[in-house]
């Protein structure tokens, strides 16, 4: 029997108590929940007054306003809906990197489980998919509520199975049926080669050309009204390329799409960093253009910090992205 403690480190587990997942954007849930909605309803948030018309519920009369205005006035409040959340975790071999909680997949699992735990506890519905291989697995993608769902999610993320690639556009397609209303889609992965494995994709193509299908898929989701959050989880090695000596390296592609490259780190590093930085900047601007929230985390940072950063991002608080690599 697995528990939440198997996935989430104790500090984060402690942090979850009393936390709420709030979304800056209005939600559009099927049932009442805790999220601010764009429509009028029975929530706690004051929306405004309007005159009474026959048929209105009398208990919604604002008696103080009636006394002040000397006519029948109704008090209106915003609706508070539940939120459908879809969590998608990169299950490719590229995430199998790092030690301890800096292991990218383990770090992503913790974040996903924590988000699911908070959301389910506040009544939202959560679905999950591990994106790996060319075939999407939508079996748990449709959001569901309850503690049983949390247990299923924990069990699913603990599956220690990887496939070589994670072609994100293929895995975003099932969301069209799994999320019929506005919802929140959270992608957790490194997004360094998000379209690798797409049919017809050339491994040596220009990254901006090769990754365009991802931006297109994100734009499609945004057009459906979903809120999109991409948690780009990078290892510090990937950000900083710390091998700057004469030691001979053989850089292997965990996706097995590209040939190995051998050479001393000192001669590889500068070009690598320049190309990586250019790509991250391009991806950041692409997300910004498409209205996607991008949270860039480094896997050796505390999971709690990353979790709070995601909550802040969802709540609309500004935050600086981790884009600068150490020299």
């Amino acid at each position: 029997m697995t528990g939440l403690g198997d996935v989430i480190p104790p500090p984060l587990l402690a942090l979850l108590r009393g936390r709420a997942l709030t979304l800056a954007r209005p939600a559009w849930g099927r049932r009442q929940g805790r999220h601010f909605s764009a429509r009028e309803g029975h929530g706690q948030e004051f929306r405004g007054h309007r005159g009474y018309v026959p048929g209105d519920e009398l208990r919604r009369l604002d008696w103080r306003a009636v006394a002040r205005h000397d006519r029948l006035v109704l008090r209106e409040a915003h609706s508070e809906d539940e939120l459908d959340i879809a969590l998608l975790i990169d299950g490719s071999a590229a995430m199998d990197y790092g030690e301890g909680w800096a292991h990218k997949r383990r770090h992503a699992n913790a974040l996903a489980a924590a988000l699911a735990s908070v959301a389910l506890r506040q009544g939202d519905r959560v679905g999950l998919a591990i994106a790996r291989g060319p075939t999407p697995d939508p079996s748990m993608l449709r959001p569901r509520g309850g503690q049983a769902q949390l247990a299923r999610i924990v069990a699913r993320v603990l599956e220690d199975r990887y496939e070589e690639t994670c072609p994100w556009p293929l895995h975003l397609a099932p969301l069209a049926t799994a999320l019929p209303r506005r919802g929140l889609v959270i992608l957790l992965g490194d997004l360094l080669d998000p379209c690798a494995g797409l049919p017809g994709a050339a491994p040596d193509a220009d990254p901006q050309v090769a990754d365009a299908p991802l931006l297109h898929a994100l734009a499609t989701l945004r057009a459906r009204g979903h809120a999109l959050v991409i948690v780009q989880l990078l290892h510090r090695d990937e950000l900083e390329f710390p091998w700057d000596g004469r030691e001979l390296l053989r850089i292997e592609d965990p996706r097995r799409l590209r040939a190995d490259v051998e050479g001393p780190g000192v001669s590889l590093r500068a070009g690598y960093l320049a190309r990586l930085r250019a790509h991250l900047t391009w991806f950041e601007r692409g997300c910004e253009r498409e209205g996607v929230h991008l949270v860039r985390l480094v896997s050796d940072a505390p999971v709690t910090a990353g979790f709070l950063a995601i909550l802040d991002q969802l709540a609309g608080k500004p935050r600086r992205l981790e884009t600068e690599a150490a020299p």
Partner: protein, 739 residues
């Protein structure tokens, strides 16, 4: 198959070392599975190391290449038992190698001289233990190696000589026999009580092995060793058995002679060049082959091809051809050459495909006739018939004939001294009493320097003054003029006829028949004092045996003496048909070395002797200028004529200007060396003296060729492997900054 240097195979161990070092000593790379691998680019600024044996084919090629080189260094050979004969007991041996031009013939892609190198290698290895060996080349410029117990000295010396810059063999014509003296001298210079032998390595031609005597001084054995098809004991034919055909010789074509003459009937500056070409076939082929082969001969004047002619060569018969060409431009000798144009297959002996000539439209011989009996009536003049005959010669070179009275001649000599004769090629003293005593030495000195002198008899000739003043140069001393009928024992005869002329005399060589002189009747003649020491050559004699025309060389000049008159006073010789060619050829012969450009023609290796009072510079065909100085006799001897072509002597600046052009000389190869017909068939018949030794055939040369082929393959493969990297246009190239 054996190896001459088997220890070199140890080098094969070295082949494994690079591979082992690579496998064992390589640095293990640190493996990093990096998700951002797409941002790591190989091939730009990355120094990529090879960590695995990836290009196995390339490695195999390189290892194979090294292995072949090692194998070639080990010098594999295959044995040919019984291919050579050597003396059975230890002995002193000199290997005499034919270095003449006939060894230039290419058989199986290599010259005979290169084949001879292999034979010498075989010989030095086949000699019995304890033998000493030395080396002589029939080319006088070749190495001479004294007897030594180390055969490598011989091999190295021969290899060094063959590898020296310049053609090998050189163009000289030396018989193999000409090297025997040097070989024998080397043998006799080293004392030793054992047997002595000369192994003569050459081709089977008359000038090669065919020129050798069977034994030298009854002490030195001569063992002929053919370059191709070496002799073994088993080659000795049994009775009634045909000798099997060996020594296949490729057919080759060569020019075997050329001459030219003015063709003034066509144009004052026209010349007619005649030459002949022929096919040189093997003996068997020359009997059977009767087909016709076409070759093209080109005439080149001043390095420009001016004419071509197709010549049909049928069988082995020489075919003559003729060009006429009108010289343009400046006077003076012009360099010309006849060249066989290359055919579809290269000529195996290219050395005789070119003949060099000097052509001149103004090539005139200066003839001065001292008329001892002038007459107002032309028909009675002493030299009327001579001048008329010379004027009628069309084929001879142009003659500038000047007539002088004896007084004029002597006066000029007294006034100008020896320089009065400097421009004279032939001086004719026709019925002159004798040159005055004070000027006679000028005449003798001029003859010694190359002038021709023709003395004709007559009533005015006096024996004693001639004998006293020019006796040193006369072919024979004069005794007295006699009337034929009064000759002792010939009282009945009133006239004397001429015996058939001696056509072997150099002046008459090439003429045929009796020249139309047999009807000549002489009434008077001059008797001569017999003197065998004077080496006079009689060209024409009377039927009674008395010489009529005789010649003698004196210094560089020639002297002719006609013992009857050159007009009709003493005989009817001038009106005989043969008088014209006789006079023309005599003057041409006397002009000799000074008769104009066409007369300077020497064979390769022969010295070019030219009279000159002052130092000169000789320009050789290689473009080298060699200063030369005359000796005390006023002669320049230029011996370095090993290169065929055009030689020109230039007077030193400031020298006395001369009316004549700079002396020139054409040097050509001896056509005798072109004859490759095998004629030598003498088998060794020394019974128990000789044994069949084991000879070796070198097999490493194909290995070297194979190694070169592998090298080319390796380069091509490497280039092909590198092509994709060269073509890679990577998107990683830095982008221009956004503006």
């Amino acid at each position: 198959m054996t190896l001459l240097a088997p220890w070199m195979l140890a080098g094969l161990v070295g082949l494994a070392l690079p591979v082992l070092a690579h496998l064992l000593g390589r640095e293990r790379p640190r493996q990093i599975p990096l998700s951002s691998r797409r941002f790591v680019a190989a091939g730009d600024e990355v120094v990529t190391h090879r960590r695995r044996l990836r290009d196995l084919l390339l490695l195999a090629l390189r290892v194979g290449l090294l292995a072949l080189i090692v194998l070639a260094l080990a010098r594999p050979i295959s044995e040919r038992p019984g291919a050579l004969t050597v003396l059975a007991t230890p002995h002193d041996a000199i290997i005499l190698v034919d270095g003449s031009r006939s060894m230039e013939l290419r058989v199986d892609g290599e010259t005979l001289l290169a084949h001879a190198r292999e034979v010498v290698d075989d010989l030095t290895r086949s000699l019995p233990a304890g033998s000493r060996v030395g080396l002589v080349i029939s080319d006088p410029g070749g190495p001479r190696i004294e007897l030594s117990a180390d055969p490598d000295r011989v091999r190295r010396a021969l290899a060094r000589w063959l590898d020296e810059p310049g053609p090998r063999p050189r163009g000289g014509a030396w018989t193999l026999e000409s090297g025997l003296a040097a070989a024998a001298a080397l043998l006799q210079a080293t004392p030793g009580g054992i047997e002595r032998a000369i192994y003569a390595v050459g081709d089977r031609t008359d000038r090669g092995l065919g020129s050798l005597p069977p034994r030298l001084d009854d002490e030195i054995v001569i063992v002929p060793v053919p370059v191709l098809g070496a002799v073994g004991l088993e080659d000795v034919p049994r009775a009634g058995q045909e000798r099997r055909a060996r020594d296949p010789r490729p057919e080759h074509v060569g020019l075997d002679g050329a001459a030219w003459e003015p063709a003034r009937e066509l144009d004052p500056r026209a010349v007619r060049i005649r030459g002949s070409a022929r096919r040189y076939l093997s003996e068997e082929a020359s009997k059977t082959i009767t087909d016709t082969r076409r070759v093209t001969v080109a005439l080149r004047v001043d390095d420009q091809k001016v004419a071509r002619a197709e010549v049909e060569l049928t069988g082995a018969r020489p075919a003559s051809f003729e060009f006429t060409h009108t010289l343009t431009g400046a006077d003076g000798p012009r360099r010309a050459s006849l060249e066989l144009e290359p055919g579809p297959t290269p000529d195996p002996m290219p050395g005789d495909d070119v003949i060099s000539l000097w052509l001149s439209a103004s090539d005139r011989t200066q003839v001065t006739v001292v008329n001892g009996d002038p007459s107002e009536m032309r028909a009675h003049d002493e030299v009327f018939f001579l001048a008329t005959a010379l004027a009628a010669t069309e084929s001879a070179r142009a003659l500038d004939v000047r007539g002088l009275a004896p007084e004029q001649f002597e006066e000029r000599l007294r006034r100008e001294g020896a320089s009065a004769l400097a421009g004279v090629d032939v001086l004719i003293l026709a019925n002159v009493r004798a040159p005055a005593e004070d000027i006679a030495h000028h005449v003798a000195a001029a003859v010694e320097r190359g002038m021709g002198l023709w003395i004709t008899a007559g009533d005015r000739v006096e024996a004693r003054p001639y004998n006293d003043r020019l006796g040193a140069l006369l072919p024979l001393l004069l005794r007295e003029a006699v009337v034929v009928g009064t000759a002792p024992g010939r009282t009945e005869a009133r006239t004397e006829g001429l015996a058939p002329v001696d056509l072997t005399h150099p002046a008459l060589r090439g003429l045929t028949g009796d020249l139309g002189l047999t009807g000549t009747r002489a009434r008077r003649l001059y008797l001569l004092e017999p003197d065998p020491t004077r080496a006079a050559e009689v060209a024409v004699s009377f039927t009674n045996g008395a010489p009529a025309l005789l010649t003698r060389a004196f210094g560089r000049g020639r002297v002719a003496l006609l013992t009857t008159s050159i007009d009709r006073d003493w005989s009817d010789l001038p009106i005989r048909p043969g008088f014209l060619p006789l006079a023309e050829r005599t003057i041409t012969y006397l002009a000799g070395e000074r008769g104009g450009a066409s007369a300077r023609h020497v064979l390769v290796g022969e010295p070019w002797v030219l009279p000159s009072e002052a130092p000169m510079t000789i320009h050789t065909p290689e473009g080298v200028a060699r200063p030369v100085a005359p000796d005390e006799r006023g002669l320049i001897t230029f011996a370095d004529t090993m290169t065929p072509g055009h030689y020109r002597a230039e007077r030193e600046p400031g020298a006395t200007p001369s009316e004549r052009a700079d002396p020139v000389c054409s040097v050509n190869v001896d056509p005798d060396e072109s004859v490759t017909t095998p004629t030598w068939e003498e088998p060794p018949s020394r019974g128990d003296e000789v044994v069949a030794a084991t000879a070796h055939a070198a097999r490493w040369r194909p290995l070297v060729l194979l190694a070169l082929l592998l090298l080319a393959l390796e380069a091509a493969l490497r280039w092909r492997r590198a092509a994709p990297r060269r073509r890679a246009g990577s998107w990683w190239r830095p982008r221009p900054p956004a503006t």
